[in-house]
Structures are given as structure tokens and as C-alpha cells.
């Protein structure tokens, strides 16, 4: 099988997985008890079953489940997730605005986490203080939950010292404020990534530097710096990149607690709040985007393997 056929096969499998996830989610939220209209009207006095029935009809919830499933799948093809029950806006628009916040957060956290982790991992095998830093601080950071780390940063840098805002997002039109508001959440998310990557990088470097080609490079008299950069680090980074891709894919919908602590309106908190009021269009749309993102990262990672190791695409 050629590389093109290999890529095509991976993409088709990915699309089939997205459709499966959508059908499972659609059925799951119908099975879970709780009615979106009753929840929506729970704070309105004098509401009886007649008003509930009228609103169910307005939202199309009175139609049989197969019809709603079919409408949902047809809508997906046009990227139309329907109208959010709670916000009365197209679910696609809401998700798009939240996705921008999530992607910015995740990409920045991943960038600083991965580069910082590789740097620290490299230093840990070259210097004694780097070794101590990674061995002592790494497990500490990994054992502290993100929301605790975030709360401590807010308490110290925002409420006590007043250096940075306590949370929220600022528009791109105010770039300085935009960056200031991102510092604490990005640090909160990036630190555990850096700790993980540093640990993996350290392990891989220690593994690779015992290989024959490293000994050969040293025997040829290349400077230590060149040997490290060209022969050790480059070879050690392949598994690091795999871990990085997984971290990135998993982050997109999993930043809920950090979003909550820093009042960031990202995709994770949108999904949680939508589930809590049974906003079906938003739940389905958010799950679609998160699963598509995760599956896409995996496909890219699979295809990368195909490039790096031609034997993979021939299987």
C-alpha cells in the first residue's frame, strides 16, 4: 500500500469514528434522565405541563428519536449543530468562539510546556542542578492538581502582589492585556506538561547516549555539544514528539478546571455547563469538535509515522 492509500485509509477510519462518536453521544444524552425544557423553566412560576409541551414542540423535541437523529446527522454535514436551548444562538457560533479561546490556551501551553520540558530534560543530564530540579520539582508539579496550582498562582501573583489579573480574557484589540490575562492559565497548564516532557526527554537521552553511534561520534572527536545535539537529542526526541501529540490532543477538552479557576470561557467549560442543562445542540457540537480534534491529531501522528518509518505504511 502506498503512502497516499495509507493516508486515505486513516482519514476514512477517522471520519467513521467521528460519526460513531456522534451517534453514541446522541443516544447517550437521550437515555440520561432530565429534560432540557423542564430544566429551563425550573425558575418560572406557574408553569404546568401545557407550557412544557408547547416549548418541547418549539425545540423539535416532540419528534421521534430516529427523526431527530437523522436531522442531526444531516445538520452535521453542513456543520449545523442547531440552536442552543440556553443561549438561543446557533451552537456552531458559540462553539467557534469558545474554540478560539481553547486553542490559544492549549497551543501556548503545549508550546511552552514542550519546549521547556525538552530544555529541562536536556539540562538534567548535563548539569547537576538540572538533574535535581527535574527529579525534585517534576513529581511535585505532577502531583498538584491544576486547579490548586492555578489558585495558588492567583493568590500569590494576583491577589497579594497585584501583578497580573485574576482571570478572564481580553480581546485581541488590546494585545498587552490579552497577553497579561493568558500568563497565569498558560503557566498552570504548561508546568505539568513540562514536567512530563522533561522526564521523558531525560529518560530517552540517557538511553540514546549509550548507543554505538554516539560512541562512534565521540571517537571521531566531534565536540560534545555537536554530538549531543546531532546524535543524542535528535534521536531521543521521536518518542517525545509522540507524547507531545497525545498531550496536545487530550488538552483541548480537558482544561475545564483551569478554565473555571481563571474564568476562561473555553470549550471544556462550555461542554460541562451544557451537560448540566441538557443543551443537546451544544453538547453534540462540542463533542464533535473535541473528538474531531483528537482524532485528527492521531491521524496526523499515524501519517507522520508513515513518513518516518515506511514499513508502517506497508503493513
Amino acid at each position: 500500500m502506498g503512502l497516499a492509500a495509507y493516508c486515505g485509509k486513516r482519514i476514512l477510519i477517522g471520519l467513521a469514528m467521528i460519526v460513531c462518536v456522534q451517534v453514541i453521544i446522541f443516544l447517550a444524552i437521550q437515555v440520561v434522565p432530565g429534560d432540557p425544557v423542564e430544566a429551563m423553566l425550573s425558575e418560572t412560576a406557574g408553569i404546568g405541563p401545557d407550557v412544557v409541551a408547547a416549548l418541547r414542540q418549539q425545540f423539535g423535541l416532540d419528534k421521534p428519536m430516529p427523526v431527530r437523529l437523522l436531522n442531526h446527522v444531516i445538520g452535521l454535514l453542513r456543520l449545523d449543530f442547531g440552536i442552543s436551548f440556553q443561549y438561543s444562538q446557533p451552537a456552531f457560533d458559540i462553539i467557534a468562539s469558545r474554540l478560539a479561546v481553547s486553542i490559544e490556551l492549549v497551543v501556548l501551553a503545549a508550546f511552552f510546556g514542550i519546549t521547556g520540558g525538552i530544555l529541562l530534560g536536556s539540562l538534567s543530564v548535563q548539569t547537576r542542578w538540572g538533574d535535581r530540579l527535574v527529579s525534585i520539582l517534576g513529581p511535585v508539579i505532577l502531583s498538584v492538581p491544576g486547579y490548586v496550582l492555578g489558585s495558588v498562582l492567583i493568590l500569590g501573583l494576583s491577589l497579594s502582589l497585584g501583578w497580573l489579573p485574576a482571570g478572564g480574557v481580553a480581546p485581541f484589540s488590546d494585545p498587552a492585556e490579552h497577553v497579561r490575562r493568558l500568563v497565569l492559565p498558560v503557566v498552570t497548564l504548561a508546568l505539568p506538561i513540562a514536567a512530563t516532557i522533561a522526564k521523558v526527554t531525560r529518560f530517552e537521552i540517557l538511553e540514546v547516549r549509550t548507543q554505538d553511534w554516539v560512541r562512534t561520534s565521540r571517537a571521531y572527536g566531534f565536540p560534545t555539544r555537536v554530538t549531543f545535539r546531532r546524535d543524542i537529542l535528535r534521536n531521543a526526541l521521536t518518542p517525545v514528539l509522540t507524547i507531545s501529540a497525545l498531550e496536545l490532543g487530550g488538552l483541548i477538552g480537558a482544561t475545564v478546571l483551569v478554565e473555571k479557576v481563571f474564568n476562561l470561557s473555553g470549550l471544556g467549560s462550555l461542554l460541562v455547563s451544557s451537560v448540566s442543562v441538557r443543551d443537546y445542540p451544544l453538547i453534540q457540537g462540542a463533542v464533535f469538535v473535541i473528538s474531531a480534534f483528537y482524532i485528527a491529531i492521531n491521524i496526523i501522528s499515524d501519517i507522520m509515522y508513515g513518513f518516518l518509518d515506511p514499513r508502517v505504511s506497508k503493513r
Binding site: 408547547a54 418549539q58 480574557v169 441538557r278
Partner: protein, 519 residues
């Protein structure tokens, strides 16, 4: 030639590093008072995301506050909770079923569209439609006709007397809206309120600026209000303390002390909405009024306040009453007391065996619901009732409550009217009223409340409401337990704002922003 500085660093590297450090330092300069930079703009940390405004339905307290800035009804509440003219320059109750409103001259919406009696008629008729699901549907379901004898006069005729119609018309969801908003799903951003929408950063903030079209624009001190959404109460309190916002609503009870201890911050807390217990009267044991009475004597309200509201609330031994309304009698607040011995005696009299198992429905979505149920569980245990907690999320809780899948349930109430008529929605049983105990027939209570509503004089009306309350005391169709503190908090630069005490803390206080200024 490459220049190297003394420590061996390249000049370009040094400059780049220096530039980076300067940029970084600029970002770290203390800017606590960020919200102060915006002149007479009030930066408000709002307790929920507000999506598109839709005309009619209630979508919670945060949406009420936004509605009250963009929209205006015929009447509104003032700082004392009294109904005062708004788009109507005057009003009169011809009788308890007929109200006449005279509109101000020259009224327009934010987009310049004129407002006349026909606009008002169309708006109110839309709210009276069942399928609108309007917050004031209960009041307008008895709408018989709206007459518009001229462009500035509106005559509202009801099929049943309703002395509280004006309260309903001051509800934040009853602003007069343009014809384009009167359709299911139509957005409703253009109103006749003191501020108009300038920017909607979906899911993040709403920026409102002073509307030149507002009938009382000279009395509005602020240039605008920026609502930033802070759904998490700790994040909201942090934002206020850090100076990111000037004001927040719905301060979490756990944050009261923290805010009070912060210099230059004001905590404006009043007794607000109440929490209560529902009974499934459709099945044993709570089909028996004696058992319901036993529960009324078994629950220690002080413990409920301590457990659910960190001590920030008032225990209730009877009906909660909104201050400033002359239709209440203080005796309505003294129906039961905490008396476990009496509770045990009543249970024995009703033939309830010791160790009876019941289900107690609450919700895990709100911590005060869960804590209130835990407090009740201990009190019930003390009188020999073994209550098993069922604490699902909010939609599951709502469905279980409306469907009668419980024995006892905890619930919260935030009436939008100040008068005793509010009791009707809580007395009438589900499924007819989603606020009431499942299966309860409240026809006798409703008859007295309706008789009270038909009487114009407060004293005579009070006697009718008292009859309804006596039946409630005896039958216990629902059991109010505590009135919780409802707080706004703001910096001391904010002036002229007042949290209206009582039920109106939720539905009326948003009107105070047009009277607010910021130094």
C-alpha cells in the same frame, strides 16, 4: 565585526534579551486598578453567561440584570421596591381587573422606532401566549383584552382580579419590545432601556453604552456598563478583590468574610430568596397532613442556615414576607417552630413507625441544596425518620420533582412579586405548578388568595390572605425553612446603588444600575 559585551554575549543576543525583559516587565507592572481606567464605565462581574436575549422567558438572575439595562416596561421598581412609572408616565387601577396606563410622549426604541399603545398591546399579548413560556405568563393568562383608545393610552382588562399585576409588569422579563422580537427564537437586543448594546463578545462580555433615546437619560450617570461573565463565584470574588471589576452580583456565602475584610470593598447583603421543602402528597406517608406537620416541627432552621449559607440567612417559621408590602400580617411568619418532641408525638399520632425510610430529593448542582438536605437528614433521624438522599444534577432533579419521584424534596423560591399572591404558585401542587408539592390540591388556599386579590383595600385583603395562611399552617402544602442572604459587592467608588431587600433582590435590584455612578 561582531561586538561582544564583557560577559561574552553577542550584542544582538544581548539586545534581544534586553527587549524581551523590558516587554516582560511591562506586563508585570502592577495594574490592580485596571477597572478604574475606564472613566464612567461600570465594569460588572456577572454571575452567568448571557446568550441571545429572547423576549419573555426567564433565564435566571444574570439575564434579569442585563434585561433591566436594555429594556424597560410600563412600570419598574424603585429603590424601596415600590412600583413606579417607567414607559407609562402614569397608571391607575380602575378596579382589580382593569388597569389604565398613559404612555410618555416621544418614546422610542434604541433604533429610533416609535413606541405607542399598539406596540405595548402587541408586546403584552405576545407574553400572554402559552407557547412563549413567558416569566409572567401566570399573571397574563387571565388577560381578557387590551384596548388602545388612543396612541398613548393602554387599557388592560383581566378575566380575574389581580391586585399584583403591576408587580408582574415590573418584572425584568416584561420590558416592552419591538415587533421584530415577538417571535419564537427572535433576538431581543433592541429595547427602550437606559443603555443600548455596543458589543457582544459571545461567552465573554457585553458592552452597553448610555442610550440617548431613554426617556430619563439625564438621570443616568454612567457612560456605560461592561458586563464580564464570571460563572464561578470564587473567580468572581477574586476579580473584584484584584480590581478587575468594579462590582459583582451573587456573592458566594463563603466569600462574605473575605470581601468584608478587604479595604475599599462594600458587601451589600439583604435577606433575599427562600428555601423550602416539598412533599409528595400523592402517596403515604406525606398524604397525611399530620406527617407534614411533624416535619415542620422536626427541622432545625438555624442548622439549615448554618450548613447551607455559612450562617448568612434567616430561619423561617412561617411564610416569607417581602418588606414594605402592606398585605402581610406578621402572624403569617409564625406558623411552626423547632420542636422535635412535638414532631415525634405527631408522627406517633399519624401511626408512622419509628425508623420509617423515605427518599429526600436534592441536587448536587448547587452546594446549598446538598448541604440543606444533609442538615435535614440529621434532624429527621432525630425524630425517627431514615431519609436517604437522592442528589442528581439539576435537570434530573427537576424531572424527578415535576414527576413526583420523591417523598421529600428541597427547593428554592425567588418570587417576582412582593404581595402574598406569590404563595399561590408554591401552594398549588405539581404537575399543575412546578413549584408545588406533587399531587397537592390547593383549591381552598387558592380561593382565599384570589379573594384577597379581588379586594382593593389592604386590610380586607389581608384577612383573606390570613385565611389562606391558616390553611397552609395546618395542611403544610410546602414548608419554608430559611431566607438566604443575597449580596452584591462593589468598590467604594460605586455610589447610588442599593440592593433591594426581600424577593426583589433578584428581580428588582438590576433597576438600580441606572441610578449608579462611579467616581
Amino acid at each position: 565585526m561582531k561586538t561582544r559585551i564583557s560577559c561574552g554575549m553577542h550584542r544582538r543576543t544581548f539586545l534581544a534579551t534586553a527587549m524581551g525583559l523590558v516587554t516582560l516587565m511591562a506586563g508585570f507592572v502592577p495594574q490592580v486598578a485596571r477597572a478604574q481606567d475606564d472613566g464612567r464605565m461600570l465594569t460588572f462581574g456577572l454571575s452567568a453567561n448571557v446568550g441571545n436575549l429572547i423576549y419573555g422567558p426567564s433565564r435566571g438572575a444574570a439575564q434579569f440584570i442585563v434585561n433591566q439595562q436594555l429594556h424597560r416596561g410600563l412600570v419598574k421598581f424603585d429603590e424601596n421596591g415600590t412600583v413606579v412609572p417607567a414607559l407609562a408616565e402614569s397608571f391607575e387601577a380602575v378596579d382589580t381587573s382593569t388597569y389604565r396606563f398613559t404612555l410618555r410622549k416621544g418614546l422610542v426604541f434604541h433604533d429610533g422606532t416609535p413606541i405607542d399603545s399598539a406596540t405595548v398591546k402587541a408586546s403584552l399579548e405576545y407574553l400572554a401566549r402559552r407557547e412563549t413560556g413567558a416569566a409572567i405568563y401566570a399573571a397574563l393568562s387571565t388577560l381578557e383584552a387590551i384596548e388602545t383608545p388612543d396612541a398613548h393610552t393602554v387599557l388592560v382588562r383581566l378575566s380575574k382580579p389581580n391586585a399584583s399585576l403591576l408587580d408582574y409588569l415590573a418584572d425584568p422579563n416584561a420590558g416592552i419590545s419591538p415587533p421584530a422580537a415577538l417571535a419564537p427564537g427572535a433576538v431581543n437586543w433592541i429595547g427602550a432601556g437606559p443603555f443600548r448594546l455596543k458589543a457582544n463578545d459571545s461567552g465573554v462580555s457585553l458592552t452597553l453604552v448610555k442610550a440617548d433615546t431613554y426617556y430619563d437619560k439625564d438621570a443616568v450617570a454612567l457612560d456605560g456598563v461592561k458586563f464580564i461573565f464570571y460563572p464561578d463565584s470564587s473567580a468572581r470574588a477574586n476579580a473584584l478583590i484584584a480590581g478587575d471589576v468594579d462590582m459583582v452580583d451573587f456573592v458566594g456565602w463563603e466569600d462574605f468574610e473575605r470581601i468584608e475584610a478587604t479595604p475599599k470593598l462594600v458587601l451589600d447583603a439583604v435577606p433575599g430568596p427562600f428555601v423550602y421543602t416539598l412533599f409528595n402528597t400523592g402517596r403515604a406517608p406525606f398524604d397525611n397532613p399530620k406527617v407534614r406537620q411533624a416535619i415542620a416541627y422536626a427541622i432545625n432552621r438555624d442548622n439549615v442556615v448554618a450548613a447551607a449559607f455559612y450562617g448568612h440567612g434567616n430561619p423561617l417559621n412561617g411564610m416569607p414576607m417581602s418588606p414594605g408590602n402592606d398585605r402581610y400580617d406578621p402572624a403569617m411568619g409564625e406558623l411552626w417552630s423547632y420542636d422535635p418532641d412535638k414532631a415525634r408525638a405527631l408522627l406517633a399520632e399519624a401511626g408512622v413507625a419509628k425508623g420509617m425510610k423515605i427518599s429526600l430529593l436534592t441536587s448536587s448542582t448547587y452546594s446549598f441544596f446538598r448541604d440543606m438536605a444533609l442538615s435535614m437528614q440529621a434532624d429527621l433521624k432525630a425524630v425517627g425518620i431514615d431519609a436517604e438522599l437522592n442528589a442528581p444534577d439539576w435537570p434530573t432533579y427537576t424531572s424527578a420533582k415535576n414527576g413526583g419521584n420523591y417523598d421529600l424534596a428541597v427547593a428554592g423560591g425567588a418570587p417576582s412579586v412582593t404581595g402574598p399572591v406569590y404563595m399561590q404558585a408554591y401552594a398549588v401542587g405539581a404537575p399543575a405548578s412546578s413549584f408545588g408539592s406533587y399531587g397537592y390540591d390547593a383549591s381552598e388556599i387558592v380561593a382565599h388568595i384570589q379573594a384577597g386579590e379581588a379586594i382593593a383595600g389592604d386590610e380586607e385583603a389581608r384577612a383573606e390572605y390570613a385565611k389562606a395562611v391558616r390553611i397552609i399552617g395546618d395542611q403544610v402544602p410546602f414548608l419554608p425553612l430559611a431566607q438566604r442572604s443575597q449580596a452584591f459587592a462593589y468598590t467604594d467608588r460605586v455610589k447610588g446603588f442599593r440592593n433591594i431587600p426581600g424577593f426583589l433582590s433578584i428581580t428588582g435590584t438590576g433597576y438600580m444600575i441606572e441610578k449608579t455612578s462611579i467616581r
